[in-house]
């Protein structure tokens, strides 16, 4: 929540608690404030009303008292005897009558003023003077009002004495003292305080009795401000805030203004509400405590699962398996179960990824990466603790053929079964599949070679048991090469290379057997690698050369063409046999580069020969598998200007082993260019008549093994004849290879071979010699 950001709470729980408590507190404060405002307002209004009501009561009381006093004074003033006494100035009678009246009415002060201002009935001289001054202000009528007497405010009621003319006044003076005020206060419904104030000439006000003689400034100025309109208002005086009403009193004419001040402290007005205030405060505090507790608890129910999730997510981030308890059906519960599902999915996936990373998808055996780690580990152990580790490399002998003939699904199934068996039978060794039909076994041992012999035999035995897949009963045969650390290598690569060399040796030894690594193997391998390295540079250094072996056209009785044959003149080793370096070139892919050069060179050379002379170029199956062969051919023809019909590419059946559809398409493309296609080494390998049907070859080259056998093996001639007849029937030419004897030539001529090739006619020649041979127009020795 944005609101909370500045507080920066570490816990959601505190945040929620503070938020709700705060909101509640604000609400409570608002309610309390409102309530207090209403209470104060109402109290004030009520006090005002009370004050006004009391003012009215006071008025009536005043009037009542006045008329009572008037009555009493009037009675006396009218009394005939009293009037007679006054008229005759009979002081004794007058005094006694006045004292009688004082007792009757209950007043302290009653006296008589005559029209000349003479006072009878007062003792104190100051009072006499004040009373005498009154005479000028009184009229014949009845007078009632406030006037100072003896320095104190008195309520004065005067009744004229008419005898019958005005002779004077009977005057009653009621002191407006505290006692009087207390009796007034008792009449009120509310406990207000009442006091009379008189105005002084300087505008300040003084109280009527000792207690209020010198009021505080607030009261004085309040009266001064409010006495004329007589409305209740507030005083903020020494005793706290109070509401007061200054009520003007009637005064004797000429006397200073006087007010009755009714005062009511707010403290008292509010005191009935004190329990309410306390109740609100208590409810507020209790409510706040409850809200905090409830929010705390609620927040806990929310944040506890979140904290658990938080901790679990941390754990998960560290790669551990984590789960949280699911306690509810709400969003948090769903989140928790989703989290659990996600966590277990992640763990599952990790396990699968790990498994995939270290296990072979097809067989479930450990893969190359796993093997590498394992072997490294074992080698380290050997290094540290001594002992030996045997590495067995196993290769199925006939897997390629099975795969080719029965299809990949069958091949895969075979691998799976073999893997299963190896796992079952060789539980004491680490078994891995490196790819294809390559398996490896790793086994640490104490140096007793017999252990490993036994292991190798068991492995071979496990593979050799026939396996039934669909309708085929397959018997896997395997070769095994064994290298032993630390003798044959101290690291993965060297040990593996040694084991592989041993494997080659086992295969050479006739398959289905095992061989331990021996040092010479390594020398051969090193020689191979040296050839590989040198071959990379041979082309650039011009060490490669083409030799041309003539193909003698029997019918035309002349050289019909040359087969271009690659020669490598190694600067140190001298001439290296193609059988030695061509496989290496094929393995490394250098054959593509070399083949391109051969194509260019052969075409360039052929272009210089007479038009009836063709050139035949061998194309490797590797070249067919890589893209760009047709481009290479086209490029060579363009560069040389050679007619396409004069180029003959020779392929072997092996190119059909892989991707025969695209191979056929490529062959058709080349044929479309006008290039001739010859099938080389016919009759060996997997020769299948279906190839002849699948592509209209221009020529079939009969393998030298048949030609050699012509004179030694009965039936060979029949095969050659059958091939030639078959080719004839399909409209294909035939070339017999390896013709060395005149007898062979005779037979082939008789059987109708189109052309012959062999030492009988000429060995392969460097280009200049080949060209010279053409010019010599040499005849066949046999002819």
């Amino acid at each position: 929540m944005v609101l909370m950001r500045p507080f920066g709470f570490r816990q959601l729980r505190t945040r929620l608690a503070v938020l709700y408590a705060g909101l509640f507190a604000i609400a409570m404060l608002c309610i309390a404030g409102l309530l207090y405002g209403v209470v104060v307002h109402n109290s004030k209004a009520q006090v005002r009303k009370e004050l006004i009501a009391n003012g009215t009561v006071f008025d009536r009381l005043w009037d009542q008292q006045t008329s009572q006093l008037r009555g009493a004074a009037g009675v006396l003033a009218r009394d005939f005897g009293f009037r007679a006494a006054v008229a005759t100035n009979d002081r004794g009678t007058i005094e006694s009558a006045l004292s009688n009246l004082r007792q009757r009415v209950g007043l302290r002060t009653a006296f008589i003023i005559d029209v000349d201002g003479n006072v009878t009935g007062l003792a104190e001289r100051g009072e006499v003077r004040e009373a005498s001054a009154l005479s000028g202000r009184l009229d014949q009528g009845m007078v009632a009002g406030v006037a100072p007497l003896g320095n104190r405010a008195h309520k004065i009621v005067a009744a004229p004495i008419m005898a019958p003319a005005l002779m004077g006044w009977v005057v009653f003076a009621a002191e407006l003292d505290q006692q009087e005020m207390r009796s007034l206060e008792r009449l009120s419904a509310i406990p207000l305080s009442a006091a009379v104030y008189q105005r002084r000439e300087d505008g300040s006000w003084r109280g009527a009795d000792e207690a209020t003689k010198t009021p505080d400034l607030a009261i004085s100025s309040f009266i001064e401000a409010n006495w004329r309109h007589g409305q209740p208002a507030e005083i903020d005086g020494a005793g706290g805030l109070s509401i007061a009403l200054a009520k003007p009193l009637p005064t004797v004419p000429g006397a200073p203004p006087a007010v009755l001040l009714l005062q009511y402290p707010m403290r008292l007005a509010l005191s009935p509400y004190r329990p309410l205030e306390i109740a609100i405060a208590v409810i507020g505090v209790l409510g706040l405590a409850l809200v905090v507790m409830a929010t705390w608890r609620m927040a806990r129910s929310i944040t506890l699962p979140i904290s658990l999730l938080d901790a679990a997510a941390d754990k998960l981030a560290d790669g551990q398996l984590a789960s949280v308890p699911v306690n509810s059906q709400d969003e948090l519960g769903r989140l928790a179960s989703t989290f659990n599902r996600m966590a277990s999915d992640i763990v599952d996936r990790e396990q699968r990824i790990t498994h995939l990373a270290f296990n072979d998808l097809l067989t479930g055996l450990p893969n190359r990466a796993n093997f590498t780690q394992h072997l490294e580990h074992q080698l380290r152990m050997v290094e540290r603790r001594g002992g030996h580790v045997a590495l067995l490399c196993m290769d199925l002998d006939n897997f390629k053929a099975i795969n080719d003939t029965l299809g990949h699904p069958t091949g895969d199934e075979l691998l799976r079964r073999i893997a299963l068996r190896l796992g079952e039978e060789l539980g004491d060794a680490f078994v891995a599949r490196l790819g294809g039909d390559e398996f490896v076994l790793v086994k640490p041992f104490d140096g007793e070679a017999g252990t490993i012999d036994e292991l190798a035999r068991r492995a071979l035995a496990a593979v050799e048991v026939p396996i039934q897949i669909n309708e085929h009963a397959l018997d896997g045969k395997a070769s095994i090469g064994i290298a032993i650390a630390p003798a044959d290598g101290t690291n993965n690569n060297s040990l593996l290379r040694s084991a592989e060399l041993a494997l080659y040796k086992a295969k050479e030894a006739g398959r289905g057997t095992y061989r331990f690594f021996e040092e010479p193997m390594n020398a051969i391998a090193q020689s191979r690698r040296a050839i590989e390295v040198d071959l990379r540079h041979a082309l650039g250094k011009g060490e490669l050369e083409l030799h041309y072996q003539p193909l003698f056209h029997l019918a035309a009785d002349r050289i019909g063409g040359f087969e271009a044959l690659l020669r490598w003149n190694h600067p140190i080793r001298g001439a290296i046999s193609p059988t030695e370096f061509i496989p290496i070139a094929e393995e490394t892919g250098l054959i593509v580069q070399i083949g391109t050069w051969v194509m260019q060179e052969a075409c360039r050379q052929a272009a210089q020969w007479p038009e009836h002379v063709r050139v035949a170029v061998n194309v490797s199956s590797i070249q067919f598998q890589r893209p760009g062969l047709s481009h290479v051919v086209l490029q060579a023809l363009q560069n040389s200007g050679l007619q396409p019909e004069r180029l003959e590419i020779e392929i072997t059946e092996s190119i059909f082993l892989e991707r025969s559809d695209s191979t056929l398409q490529l062959l058709h493309t080349l044929r479309g260019l006008g290039v001739r296609v010859a099938l080389d080494d016919f009759g060996t390998g997997y020769s299948s008549l279906s190839y002849l049907q699948s592509f209209p070859f221009d020529k079939i080259k009969i393998d030298r093994s048949f030609v050699v056998a012509l004179q030694t093996r009965p039936g060979a001639a029949a095969i050659v004849k059958a091939i030639i007849d078959l080719a004839d029937a399909l409209g294909m030419e035939t070339t017999a290879e390896g013709v060395e004897e005149p007898g062979q030539l005779a037979t082939l001529q008789k059987q109708g071979a189109t052309s012959i090739q062999g030492f009988l006619f000429s060995r392969p020649l460097p280009a200049p010699e080949a060209t010279r041979l053409l010019k010599s127009r040499l005849k066949l020795r046999a002819a």
């Binding site: 003033a77 005759t88 014949q140 009528g141 009845m142 004229p160 008419m162 019958p164 003319a165 005005l166």
Partner: protein, 195 residues
Amino acid sequence: MAARAADLDVQIHSASGAPVAGAVVSVHLVGQPTPRPRPGGIYMIDQQDIQFRPFISTAPVGASVMFMNHDPVRHHVYSFSPAKRFELKLASKQQNQAVTFDKPGIVPLGCNIHDRMIAYLNVVDTPWAKTADANGHVILRGLPATAVTVTVWHPYLRAPGNGVSRNFTLSDASPHSERFVVAMRNPPRDPGSGY
């Protein structure tokens, strides 16, 4: 004593300019005794409609004043004046009684039964006294042409003794006109009320 006679014309106004009706004008001689009046003649103060009539009257010293009740109710006429203290209880209807006033002075008259009833009798010790008419006008004839004190009295006149005096000398050559402006008190609005 000079035999020559003089006339005195007195006009009385209040401060507000209203004529003061009923004011009593009396003349005393200065430097020689004023002759005593002759108490002959008939003086009457009636009670009619719960009122004294006239309100103000004069009578010479020694005169006998007749109080006559014309009302169907009883009256109790009294006065506490120093000049004359008396009480008359007059039964209803046509009952009368005479009172002799043998001292000069003002005699306020009241009725002890009816407070609103009030009247003033000015008992004078001079032969020259008269109440002013409704216009506040008084003419006194046959006065000696000599120095005199003229006094104007009215119960509502605001002055000590409710009277003011002036000294001057009368001549017989021409009538003497004298004008008085006096301060007047408001009469009690209703003497009977207020109790």
